[in-house]
């Protein structure tokens, strides 16, 4: 049933999945961070608790049912417990994505009582030195403690490790650590090149040899551990010849809400020029989802250019990622150049070729890396 005057057109399905980036504040400084470069500009504009709950309620009424609470580090907000508990009452399946910093026993007990369904813990690396380098702060021991707490509160241990050129050769230690922590699921996803990772791309992209080695090690662990620890290994999409079906299509299932209330069809869309993204402060989710120009911009395939427009695979990958197309070709309507049919495909293969060069020593690379921190964010805004 739809309300008169606001009836969604039949072709637009309601959102199913909301990702609430409740703050971009974060004590870590990951070199691959997917937060926008100018994230610090949101600090004084964050939605209040009430504004978050209103937006979540509206999305829930439309049919959204999966909810990620992420950031930044969501635990930097002391109302994270309230948001989780209220969202859970609304009927969301709630997933907390955290680096673990700030997850005390008191807080995890409150999350559990509030109905939190799952916790995903991210890890930068397995060795203390590397972990501290990659996240640029001393956090490793703390995370091990957090991992124990997660188990103690009867959550499955879901571990996310972002892999890249500088840590991928530690794969064996990473997996040993995961095994020691009794991880149930481990996602080893290579960093994708957006935001900070795009800035640091040439230092982060692994060589083919590194990837093959890492995958072989993964397979050994898989063979030994079977279902006890499920492993997912994701290569950088630059190594593929077809793009990912980004967000399962623009404006089809996914609604990202940034800390300042901006409604986005994906985490990165803020970068796209020519689109004015609506703010949850000024608009209801219903009108944002069904009527806003931004959410309709890349729905369906009317916007496509060649080669996508006449391609028989366009229902499979929707032409890939709009942000990647924009970053690498200057036009978001182009095919994602990861696709070998794209006339711009060489921008991807050239980068991959560059990654096959011998690895430079860490201490040479280190000063060249741009860490995600508030100073750099303001400078790059």
């Amino acid at each position: 049933m739809t309300k008169a005057g606001l009836s969604p057109t039949d072709s637009i399905k309601p959102p199913l999945w909301v990702n609430a980036e409740i703050t971009y504040k974060c004590p870590l400084h990951c070199v691959f961070c997917y937060n926008p470069l100018n994230y610090a500009s949101t600090f004084d504009k964050e939605l209040t608790t009430e504004e978050w709950l209103k937006a979540l309620r509206e999305a829930r009424e439309l049919g959204a049912v999966q909810l990620g609470i992420s950031g930044g580090e969501p635990l930097m907000r002391d109302d994270a417990e309230v948001i989780v508990a209220e969202a859970s009452k609304m009927g969301y399946y709630v997933n907390l994505l955290t680096s673990g910093i700030g997850l005390t026993e008191k807080r995890i007990a409150a999350f559990k009582a509030g109905g939190l369904d799952q916790i995903q813990l991210s890890f930068q690396d397995s060795t203390k030195e590397m972990n501290d380098f990659l996240s640029s702060t001393r956090t490793f021991d703390l995370k091990l403690k957090v991992a124990r707490l997660i188990k103690q509160y009867d959550y499955p241990m879901v571990l996310n490790v972002v892999l890249h050129r500088l840590n991928i050769d530690h794969i064996e230690q990473i997996l040993e650590m995961a095994e020691e922590m009794q991880a149930d699921h481990v996602e080893l996803a290579n960093s994708q090149y957006y935001a900070w990772a795009f800035k640091n791309r040439e230092h982060l992209m692994p060589s083919r040899e590194q990837l093959e080695h890492a995958e072989a090690v993964c397979n050994q662990f898989r063979a030994r551990l079977g279902n006890k620890m499920k492993l997912y290994f994701v290569v950088p999409d630059y190594y593929q010849d077809r793009p990912k079906a980004c967000m399962n299509g623009w404006g089809t299932v996914f609604l990202n809400i940034a800390p300042d209330g901006l409604a986005l069809p994906c985490h990165e869309a803020r970068m796209l020029p020519g689109l004015e993204f609506p703010n949850l402060r000024d608009h209801e989710v219903r009108s944002i989802w069904y009527e806003s120009e931004a959410f309709n911009a890349y729905r369906g395939d009317g916007w496509m250019k060649e080669p996508c427009r006449s391609c028989d695979e366009k229902d499979k990958d929707f032409g890939g990622c709009r942000c990647q197309a924009f970053m690498l070709t200057g036009d978001a309507r182009n095919a994602d150049p990861v696709c070998s049919k794209s006339p711009h495909h060489s921008v991807v293969t050239d980068q991959v070729a560059l990654a096959q060069q011998p690895r430079r020593p860490d201490d040479e690379v280190r000063p060249l890396i741009i860490f995600r921190d508030d100073g750099n964010s303001r400078r790059l805004s």
Binding site: L62, G63, V65, G91, N95
Partner: protein, 90 residues
């Protein structure tokens, strides 16, 4: 793996069954995903409460839908759900 017919069934940790008005269907929720259930799958799974066994569920369905021979279909579906790891016995 065959399913013991007399043992109480419950949802595996992380699986949640919920009626979704927007989809006009029962859905099974799990981390980062959901399965929209058919009407009959919903009828079966909504009877899982941590106490009923497969036999109890079949009896309850037979009573609710008299005249239909549900035995085999329900058994097959419960085994499928068990193989998938959605439901478990204690």
């Amino acid at each position: 793996m065959s399913l013991a017919k007399d043992k109480a069934l419950r949802f595996a940790r992380q699986y949640k069954l919920q009626w979704e008005k927007a989809q006009d269907a029962w859905v099974l929720l799990y981390p980062e995903g959901l399965i929209k259930l058919t009407e009959s799958a919903g009828e079966i799974l909504k009877r899982i409460d941590g106490q009923c066994s497969a036999t109890d569920i079949i009896n309850s369905l037979q009573a609710a839908f008299p005249g239909a021979d549900l035995q085999q279909d329900v058994t097959d579906f419960l085994e499928h759900a068990h193989d998938k790891g959605w439901i478990i016995t204690d």
